[in-house]
Amino acid sequence: MLKHHHESETMDEHATAPGALKDTRLLLVEDEVLIAMDVSDFLEDAGARVDHAVSLGRALALARANRYDGAVLDVTLGRHDNCVPVAEVLHADGVPFILHSGDPERQGEVVAAFTAPLVRKPSAPEEVIAALSAELRKARATAEA
């Protein structure tokens, strides 16, 4: 089963409070520019610094060159690519990420290969922030343990 984040989970006060992503450095991979602008905006409003890539090539270059605290990955990239290569780089570096996709059914196998949570598009900003914050908290707890 895919993990779905619904509005109800946005009641999580920790996650949706302003500054929930304070001082984090995030990678956003999203090929739809308008969605990218919006997601980038609200992640920054939540306190993050965001690098944005619209293509797989750019995403890979950014992921290899920088050390991110977390990432939001659109699953389908352009007509032929998907986020798997960049997810593998992030996974190898222990960077937590969430998947943000409009067609989880079509990308079922790709998505299922990762344990990362999936936020279905169209999504509320709070859903994305809540899911990502939870992953960041989990990663921090793992690192401290």
Binding site: H6, E7, S8, E9, E32, L34, I35, M37, D38, V39, D41, F42, T76, G102, D103, E105, R106, R120, K121, P122, S123, A124, P125
Partner: protein, 354 residues
């Protein structure tokens, strides 16, 4: 030699050599074989496994009709003359391996008639043995499955298109959401963007849930759509009780139901049953006919229980509820809300296209 006799076109009375005498089925005489082969619509061939090129030694009438060749054009030749530019070499190789290993195999491959027309051929081949166990013929049957192939590829295409449309639709909703978010932030009423977006997402979920359903083919089950619409407002799946049968839907009704249920659900989260852990919502529906009317009517009942006790009607309806009331009225329907102490009951009637 039997082979020589079998060369004669099926349907002609052929003298039989008696090779079949003593087989388990005493009726399997040569005459019977010839007549059966002449009658069947299944194209049948026999080829000689002892000749290195495996030439055809018998073909029946159905085979000649299927391929468009005359008997004397093909007897003595290997049946590869049916292959052409679109024939998958891998499928041919599978046939070759089966012949080599005396296996039975069914392979679908693109073949060509004498006039050049391509057809999908389901070829079945297998060994036929002498009584002493030595190989006698390679049996082949051919069936034109072009129609089956077309149907399958149409179905695949339809599925692909459906996924593509679903993806594009969700992407479009997501892009609209993003624009509304960005404009909303710069406007004097930032909450407006959020209100609009919640409704866009409800519409998206409802249409997505009904994408696989064909509204042209009669009644469909709306349960999944209702679950997608109301489910996100509660983390407890038991909080939602859906009960109703198939209904006649169309795209417009889906939008109206999406906005109506969104309104009821968000209000239940703010003031009603879904604001409490033990709260429950029951949604039931059925098709009926209004008195003296031909047009079918969808009647839904939304019942909230287990929420905070209510103290009569609210002083005024929210803007969203007002819009819902007007929308249903404009559609020729109605929504009646009743605030009992135990919780809200809303009855919705929506005329449906038939």
């Amino acid at each position: 030699m039997t082979e020589q006799k079998l060369h004669n076109q099926a349907g002609r009375t052929v003298e039989h050599s008696g090779d079949n005498a003593g087989t388990a089925f005493p009726g399997a005489s040569g005459v019977l074989f010839e007549q059966a082969m002449a009658q069947t619509r299944m194209a049948v061939t026999l080829s000689d496994p002892h000749d290195p090129d495996h030439p055809l030694v018998f073909v029946n009438r159905a085979f000649l009709e299927l391929t468009g060749y005359d008997e004397d054009e093909i007897l003595g030749r290997n049946c590869r003359f049916l292959q052409g530019p679109g024939t998958d070499p891998e499928a041919v190789a599978r046939l070759g391996r089966a012949v080599r290993d005396n296996d039975v195999v069914v392979v679908e491959l693109l073949n060509y008639r004498k006039n050049g027309a391509a057809f999908w051929n389901a070829v079945h081949i297998g060994p036929i043995y002498h009584e002493d166990g030595t190989l006698r013929y390679i049996f082949g049957s051919q069936w034109d499955v072009t129609d089956v192939h077309a149907a399958r590829s149409e179905e695949r295409h339809a599925r692909l298109m459906e996924r593509e449309i679903s993806h594009r639709m969700k992407n479009m909703f997501a892009v609209i959401s993003s624009i509304v978010n960005m404009l909303g932030k710069t406007s004097t009423e930032p909450a407006l963007g959020r209100d609009i977006n919640e409704r866009i997402r409800a519409l998206g979920r409802a249409h997505e849930a009904t994408l696989q359903l064909s509204f042209q083919q009669g009644r469909v089950d709306p349960t999944q759509m209702f679950r997608e619409l109301v489910g996100p407002y509660t983390s407890d799946p038991r909080a939602l009780d859906l009960d109703g049968g198939a209904v006649q839907l169309d795209s417009n009704s889906v939008s109206i139901l999406a906005l109506t249920l969104h309104e009821l659900a968000t209000n239940a989260v703010k003031h009603g049953a879904l604001s409490s852990k033990r709260g429950r919502v029951a949604l039931s529906w059925r098709m009926c006919r209004a008195d003296g009317q031909d047009q079918p009517l969808l009647r839904l009942t939304w019942t909230e229980r287990g929420g905070p006790p209510l103290h009569g009607d609210p002083e005024r309806l929210g803007a969203g509820s007002e819009i819902t009331t007007r929308m249903l009225r404009a559609a020729g329907g109605v929504i009646r809300r009743r605030w009992d102490t135990a919780g809200l009951t809303a009855e919705i009637e929506l005329p449906l296209q038939c």
